[in-house]
Amino acid sequence: MSVVVRTIARILIPVILVFGGYVILHGHLTPGGGFQGGAVAASAVALLLVAVGAPAVKKLKAPFSVLEDLGGVAFVVLGFLGIGFTFFANSLAGMGGLFGAPVPSGPNPGVLNTAGTVPLMNWAVGLKVLGGLGAVLVLFGLFGGDDDR
């Protein structure tokens, strides 16, 4: 595409990634979470693919596979954290420490440091969705580029 689209993509791709991180990070306070934030961040890959072209995303295939596996493993490990009570029990909520602050009941402005394992699982699923959808996009973009006809 032309220089205009490429320059705007240069500006907007970091912004989209930060916004995806924000959506994942505040998943337990505002609408959002791992699935939505991963989809938003994968849109940055789509923008890179359309603005710069398929050769630019060639190197990204291996990192995305690693991200997807990492996210899946982290999700299962976080599920096993509460195995003393039951699988997927939220063993960190309300205990103090990491993400363990108590939350007042009823409407409140929201405290980031709450909700136990939920934010960590958000990050695991977010990385997984980013890796999976990004890998799909890269594969579609690279398929049949040079040797087709």
Binding site: P107, L133, F140
Partner: protein, 115 residues
């Protein structure tokens, strides 16, 4: 006040997708029909959980003493949307490969697996 219009609209969406599945032979059109069915089902699930006069089930900056809509259908729909994209990509990959090998997108002409 508006009766069952949203539910009927969901059914119309599902029927449209079914029409595309049954009477269109182009494979990409079939995938589009599946997307339309998926949209209808997602809309149906979310409409099931709506409570008249309710607010979104989030306590951040919520007005006090307001009824909330039901959260469980939303949670189910949420995961189904992202999964729907991945499965659509899988179907389109099949379509691309079929076109590469058979030089056609007509579902009736791809006969290896029939009969």
């Amino acid at each position: 006040m508006i009766g069952n219009v949203p539910f009927v609209a969901c059914m119309v969406l599902v029927l449209l997708g079914l029409w595309a599945l049954l009477f269109r032979r182009n494979l990409i059109k079939v995938v589009i029909g599946l997307k339309v069915i998926e949209n209808g089902v997602n809309l149906y699930l979310v409409a099931t959980g709506y409570v008249k006069g309710g607010i979104a089930p989030i306590y951040t900056y919520a007005p006090p003493d307001a009824a909330m809509v039901l959260p469980t259908p939303q949670a189910l729909t949420l995961t189904s949307i992202v999964i729907g994209l991945a499965t659509t990509a899988l179907m389109l990959a099949f379509v691309v490969v079929i076109h590469r090998h058979k030089r056609t997108l007509d579902g009736c002409k791809v006969t290896e697996l029939s009969g």
